[in-house]
Amino acid sequence: MSCCAPGAEFYLLQAKAREDEILLASPPVHDGLRQTDLSVPDIHCGGCLQQIEAALHKLDGVTSARANLSTRRVSILWCGDAPPPFIPVLESIGYRAHLHDIASSRKDPALSQLLLALAVAAFASSNIMLLSVSVWSGAEPATRDLFHWISALIALPTLAYSGRVFFISAWRSLRRGRTNMDVPISVGVLLTFALSLYETIHHGPYAYFDAAVSLLFFLLIGRTLDHVMRERARQAVDGLARLSPRGALVLQPDGSRTYLPVDEIEPGMTVLLAAGERVPVDARVIKGTSELDHSLVSGESAPRPASEGAELQAGVLNLTAPLTIVATAAAKQSFLAEMTRMMEAAETGRSGYRRIADRAAQLYAPLVHSLALLTFAAWMIVGGDAHFAMTAAIAVLIITCPCALGLAVPMVHVVAARRLFENGIMIKDGSALERLGNVDTVIFDKTGTLTSGHAQLAVKGSAEADALGIAATMATHSRHPYSQALAECGLGRPQMSFDTISEYPGSGIEARRDNDVYRLGRPGWAIANRFASEAERDAAVALSVNGRSVAHFGLDDQLRAGAAEAVRQLKKSGAFVEVLSGDSDARVQKIARQLDLTWTAGARPADKIRRIEAFKQAGNKVLMVGDGLNDAPALRAADVSMAPASASDIGRTAADLVFLREDLKAIPQSITIARATAALVRQNFVLAVAYNVVAIPLAVSGEVSPLLAAIAMSLSSVTVVVNALRLGSPDQGTARSAAVQEKSLLLLEASK
């Protein structure tokens, strides 16, 4: 096997495989058209939309291209056998793009259903309210009855359609012998409707159709906002580049090559793995030598060499040279699947958490219902008039119907999610926000979390003056992660010109100028001198001139931006912080020392879970911050978890929060916001209860008219919403974090 030819061959194949991958992700829609969805994170204005659409429309075969600014996505319809070159075209006009799974970008049916229910409730409540105002302003008995009947006609289908959301959930929880907030809501709405219908039939003066329907309307607003918030986070996380492979190039027994989806790869199949690709399923190397990056799988930051016979876990990144591997397990039995199973097992420990609204409902529902019963009993004993006693009892239910309680939590959560969103933090659901507010222990993974995920190289020992410039120039000719790191180091340095430059996959880059041969790469390959020092031989990359070493570079774990500041803020807020990593002891120790933290090294996924369980046993609330495949079970086992955007797909799915920016300060920031949120939620509960304390005596005494009920309900809802909005203003709850931010900015400027 010559050292150059297979590389070139593989690069061609790699380009082909990419096309196959697009084809795999583009389902046919109709008339032979296929739809491809691309995620384009750099879209930020209307100009971008125009530019992208115009560029894509010019391609042959593209029938329509539509860019979406809200979701930063482009949807393309095209025809033909091979996909037009979307991604290169977008890259040529300056937009990074990656494939987006159509399945995950499909419209969310639950949201449409909620919006429709909301629209129906809005229509019904406005129309009934219109009729009610005429009744309240003193209509004749005949007109009043007519209007009550019309109201009933509008209210009945509305309850059936929009009320379903609550009835179904209430029924589900009742069947399991529990109560949630939807139980008192459903009981209240249904009894109110029944009473009003009875009154209407018997020509009574009061009917509460408006109360029943506008209650649904207000509550649906809260429900919809809650859903939109989660949906937005999900979409933002889905839009991130996918790291696990979609498929792999399989070498068939007859010598042909086909691109197969990961699910269809079976043990025994031969897979051609190009440099820069991830191992699709657990496999064994049968040909080739390369270096592999295990950082997402085991947390080790230094690449490990692999040659014939080496066993590889799914998810490992092939760095330097093409490999031929044979699958040893199907995707279902791979390392990834094992992690998924551990995650599910860890998940069971968490289902014990009950949301604050449900806990409130548990107290609230029996209290309100027994109060209504007592009212009924008391009036029966005193007056003996069943009709009046019934009216008073139902008035209690209407007045206490948890309109304010139903809005109290979701409104604050929506405002908090927005604040987090502005800081580049996505939160998946409201309960995570509640759990985050209680955190007192923070556990960090090292590789990719405390340290930045990509390779950082630094000069080790002494280097000759212009060596870095030479290395950087040579490095720009390769896509190897080490080369890219070196090229970045040398930005702005004087460039050198060479006569020829060629890359030898698995070894390095060779350049010639005049009679000199420069080699940048594996020390054993670059340095011919047998007397090279130990340090030079162990270096990650060496630069040599005519076989004589002039510089060598070592892998350096660089702390992520803001790591020190984040840890300091966390400690100051009273949290216990620890490092829990799968990497070697020496590397973990170095990072932990820098940050002055305790550490555990060499932890396997099961060890991580055990460590977290130990903390939880001791009564601590644990936040796990991690990124790798090996962290996913631990992310699930912790009370609440965060992952950076660069995390493995499974890590991002497992985490409750994902932060998109590089800066680790997102962690103390989100804890601060979560604590402010918890405080506001408590305030809202106090407000709702205070309002009930005032209104209940009126209801018990049977003095509540429909007008009074409507005013009370709107007032309490508006109060709660306005109180929730205070989280958005910088002077509430966030003043502390703003001050800290300002201080760190000042420090930054001072250090310049």
């Binding site: 204005c45 209307g46 100009g47 939309l49 125009q50 329509s64 539509r66 860019a67 979406n68 600014l69 809200s70 979701t71 419209k107 449409s112 919006l115 429709l116 629209a119 129906v120 229509f123 406005s126 129309n127 219109l130 005949a142 007109t143 007519l146 019309i150 509008i154």
Partner: protein, 51 residues
């Protein structure tokens, strides 16, 4: 009293028309990209609006 037989159905009919048009716009995907729609009016585009 006879006025009600015209006015009430007209009022409710108008409300229903509004509801129906909202449902249509929702199904038609007009709320898929609210930010994009706000920006697009600033550009003169040659193609038809919509999908």
């Amino acid at each position: 009293m006879i006025d009600f037989f015209f006015l009430v159905p007209i009022a409710i009919g108008l409300g229903l028309a509004g509801l129906a048009s909202f449902m249509w716009t929702l199904k038609n995907g007009q709320y898929d990209d609210l930010e994009g729609a706000a920006e697009r009016i600033l550009f003169q585009s040659s193609d038809q609006p919509g999908r």
